[in-house]
Amino acid sequence: MREFPAQYFDKESAQGRPVSLSIKDDQLHIKSELFQKSYLLSECKVQEPLLDTPLIVELPDKIRLECLYDEELLNLLNSHKRFAHLSIFQFESKMKYFIVGTSTLLFLSYLVLYFVIPAASETIADYVPKSYAEKIDHLILKNLDRHFLNESKLSEKRKQEYRKHLKNLGIESYRIAFRSSEKIKGNAFALSGSTIILTDELVKELKNDSLITAIVFHEIAHLEKRHVMEQIIRDSFLTALAIVVVGDASAGTEMFTELSFVLLSRNFMREKEIEADLYAANLLRKKSIPVSCIVESLRKLQEISTKSSDSFFSTHPEFKERIDQIQKTFSITEKCV
């Protein structure tokens, strides 16, 4: 019967005594120069082992044993327990378990990041009341006005002209906010409630009301499908998760999380943009406006964006891909007027 060396610490003094341990008849026997003791295995609390650390056994009366890690000793001590082999330590110490475990976890993490969190965000977004969304829009717009947007330089006449155009089409429940911006050229944004931002540059470049409406319909799609609200919720989840993960792993993983955020966002954005394009095309058709209008607006926007140097991290996917998708789904006969 094997004997295992250990250090014995009683509850009072810091002096450790060298002892030897043996396991027999469901009991732990401790032997030293000065004394002999026995404990039932059920009385011994074996700490979950950890790589490179000693095996710790806590005994009644606050006694602590520190043993050199030995697999046989661990198994003997845990022999009366049923699920000891399913511990996390097994996954860390045995390469086989580690690879299987890590792969499973990577897969689970992938599921969580790419499916669970987005699905949860989408569902929650549907339940957020419009009044909350309006309040959030108010704050977002205030913030945008402070840093990126300036007052629109379009004439009041032009603005009212376009608003009337929309009203005539039966589109009334959305708020169009006109702004000008040097930083964000010809573009349009949907917020999370019912606000759509149109830049002066966009209005000037597109000129034609039907072309502008095509873009507005695209933004309406984002509003109706609550894409922005979904994104806000999803980003909050990811941030909270990042804080918790990074809070423990810290330092260099920060950059890793930032990068993963950007990468995750780009993929989501691409799908949503195409979804919005198709919704807009459908709405154009319902309102008896040629579908070619959205194709032409996208072409014009492409011209604008290639003129100004666009950054690599833009969220709008290839215009070509989007135009192709629309042309595939809808038969485009008339020209845009």
């Binding site: 509850k11 009072e12 490179d52 996390i88 993490s109 990041l113 809070g247 330092a251």
Partner: protein
């Protein structure tokens, strides 16, 4: 009986020995990170305990190892409360500016309380040779130090927050004019706080270190430290400030008349690289200085403790760690941490004859276990062993 034993034995230096390997910590860290993501953060409390247990359990001193006993559920509870409060604060401050101010004040008033609680938790759950450490600092003293030194910068910061709410509601005023005035005001406040920090840091740090380490107990034995603001200024503030000032000076080169010369590319490279490097070096020097300063002066039961670190070696470890962590997108992090810990632990020691003199304080342990050892609001006060 024991004193005669000690008289006979000679005092000698016992240095720490770090047994952790990067390969081991990699596995622990990987499992920790992935389980944390898969459980949407709940596992993070267990991950934290496992990490501490690894670093404590791989630190050997005179044949015995340290251990951490914190209960993950307590950490989880504290974290959930902290996240809820943080969420309320972040969300509320977007809705109404007053929430931001109230939040800042609340955090300010809670800082000492959180600090003392986390010290009690961390130390009360740390043991060596089956004897627990404890932190016995009084709340009153903690608050005293905090209010004495932190009130002034707080008032300045509040003034800054207040100024940022002078909004441009009246559109007739040119926005840039307001921004200029606000900008100058903010920079002014920042400078005031900066100058105050420069002078007050020595006093503040010396007080904090003294408070912290004079209230640490190992069983019944007390740790002690004696430091003065002058020493802090000489050993920490001065070396770090020199680097920051040099960083500023080398940064200004870019804007000097040399900027129009042909060697502009080299100059730009130098003027951006040099300040960054110096600032980084200043920050490392600061953290090194603080750690070294404390560990050179602590005594346990009158026995000297020492950390024999060389800044040059420490800096090389830090900078290679940072670079490899960034280049590997974080994957080199476990290797970097083990490397740094190993250097620090292997060079830290205590001078004494033997460990028999230390006994546990069971009365204190009994009364403490219920309350201080089980509550923490885990805001990462990593002022560890």
């Amino acid at each position: 009986m024991q004193t005669t034993d000690e008289d006979i034995q000679e005092k000698q230096w016992h240095f720490g020995k770090f047994h952790g390997r990067a390969s081991s910590y990699y596995r622990i860290w990987t499992v920790n990170t992935l389980l944390t993501i898969a459980t949407l953060g709940i596992y993070s409390a267990w991950a934290k305990v496992r990490t501490l247990k690894f670093f404590y359990g791989t630190t050997e001193l005179n044949g015995a190892r340290f251990d951490f006993h914190g209960d993950p559920l307590s950490i989880l509870k504290g974290r959930l409360i902290a996240i809820v409060l943080l969420g309320l604060y972040l969300f509320g401050s977007k809705i109404h500016p007053l929430v931001g101010i109230i939040g800042t004040l609340a955090v300010f008033c809670l800082m000492p309380w959180i600090f003392v609680k986390s010290q009690k938790f961390k130390l009360g759950n740390t043991s060596y040779r089956n004897i627990r450490f404890s932190f016995r600092g009084s709340m009153k003293e903690a608050y005293g130090i905090w209010f004495k030194y932190a009130t002034f910068p707080l008032l300045i910061s509040l003034a800054g927050i207040g100024a940022s709410f002078i909004s441009t509601e009246d559109q007739t005023i040119v926005a840039s004019e307001i921004l200029n005035k606000r900008g100058v005001f903010s920079i002014g406040l920042l400078l005031i706080n900066g100058v105050y920090l420069l002078f007050a840091f020595s006093f503040f740090f010396s007080n904090v270190i003294n408070y912290m380490f004079n209230n640490i107990y190992f069983g019944k034995s007390k740790a002690s430290i004696q430091s003065s603001p002058k020493e802090v200024a000489k050993e920490i503030v001065f070396p770090s400030s020199m680097r920051f000032i040099l960083a500023l000076a080398s940064g200004f080169l870019l804007f000097s008349r040399f900027a129009t010369d042909l060697d502009m590319v080299l100059l730009i490279l130098f003027s951006t690289f040099a300040p960054l490097f110096l600032v980084y070096s200043g920050i490392v020097r600061l953290s090194y200085g603080m750690m070294n300063f404390a560990w050179h002066r602590i005594k346990l039961n009158g026995h000297k403790i020492q950390t024999n670190l060389k800044f040059s070696h420490f800096f090389i470890i830090e900078i290679t760690n940072s670079i490899s962590t960034i280049l590997s997108l974080g994957l080199a992090y476990p290797w970097a941490v083990v490397r740094k810990k190993s250097y620090i632990v292997n060079n830290r020691g205590i001078e004494l004859a033997g460990f028999e003199q230390f006994t546990s304080d069971l009365e204190h342990q009994e009364s403490a276990i219920g309350e201080e050892v089980s509550e923490t609001y885990d805001l990462g006060f990593e002022v560890g062993l």
